[in-house]
């Protein structure tokens, strides 16, 4: 058995990095007692172009489960989405998927 490190082992950290950066980021909306259910549904339709049924399901998840993942993608995309959601007054955060 050779004790010399195989080339593949040398590359391993890079591979791990790459896999890590492929993990998507998430935009999460949190429940709050002020925003109206109708308004939140309307915002999901307006911002993401979701059909009404999907927007309503997400709104109900936010309301009943306390939060919902409303979008996923690159970190930049999720920060952009969260910025727009903040412009509508929704309580939204960015998080790496884990």
């Amino acid at each position: 058995m050779s004790s010399a490190p195989a080339p593949v082992e040398l590359e391993r950290p890079d591979i791990a990095e790459e896999v890590g950066s492929d993990r998507p980021w998430l935009a999460i909306v949190w429940n709050d007692p002020i925003n109206l259910m109708s308004y939140v549904t309307f915002v999901f339709q307006t911002v993401f172009g979701y059909p009404k049924a999907k927007a309503e399901k997400l709104m109900k998840d936010v309301h009943h489960k306390g939060r919902a993942v409303v979008a996923s993608g690159t970190r930049e995309e999720m920060e952009w989405d969260v910025e727009i959601l903040h412009s509508y007054g929704l309580w939204a955060t960015v998080k790496r998927d884990d």
């Binding site: 007692p33 002020i34 910025e83 903040h86 955060t93």
Partner: protein, 192 residues
């Protein structure tokens, strides 16, 4: 207050003069809280960046500009540095649309809203384009967030408000919040 759909996605809202005065006063308070836009010679501000990285101390501002990362203070600060100024601009702009469209019908009004507006104090109808209605929705939501945060509104607020003593000093704020909720609900339905 009565909201109805107009032609070409327009929305019409009929207000009593005191209702228009209430919306105006609350929008003016929102603008005051948002502060002045940055000076024209501020180079970073000119491209939408500030050195503001900490969450505002005021609970209302903290609610209007929440942290975008829950467990990463540094990332939250960077996000704030690059976005808060633009967000403040957007909120000022939306409140400005509300004030301008109200002024078209009810006049400018006094600085503290003493002036009812229309001579004789009759009701008036604001006509909004679809874009203006969107601005109204966002601005109304901002003042509901502001009032609701000050009142420490919970999911059960309605029951709490009903049990409140009529002489409680928070009563007018609860009444305003309740009315704004109805207005926003009607406007969402009209715009949808």
């Amino acid at each position: 207050m009565r909201v109805r759909k107009g032609r070409h996605d327009a929305v019409r809202i009929r207000f009593e003069p005191e209702e228009a005065a209430l919306v105006r006063t609350l929008m003016e308070q929102l603008l005051e809280m948002l502060g002045e836009p940055p000076a024209a010679d501020d180079e970073l501000a000119a491209v939408g960046i500030t050195d503001q990285v900490d969450k505002p101390d005021d609970p209302v501002l903290a609610r209007l500009f929440p942290d975008a990362y829950r467990d990463d203070g540094e990332a939250a600060g960077e996000f704030r540095r690059y976005t808060e100024m633009g967000l403040r601009d957007g909120k000022r702009e939306a409140a400005g649309v509300v004030l301008a469209t109200l002024a078209d019908v009810f006049g400018e009004g006094g600085p503290a809203g003493q002036d009812g507006g229309v001579p004789g104090g009759s009701s008036g109808e604001v006509e909004l384009t679809s874009d203006q209605a969107q601005a109204w929705l966002r601005a109304l939501n901002d003042i509901r967030l502001a009032l609701g945060t000050r009142l420490d509104i919970s999911e059960e607020w309605y029951e709490e408000a009903e049990r409140l003593d009529p002489s409680d000093p928070r009563m007018p704020m609860f009444a305003a919040y309740d009315w704004l909720t109805m207005l926003q609900e009607s406007l969402v339905r009209a715009v949808w």
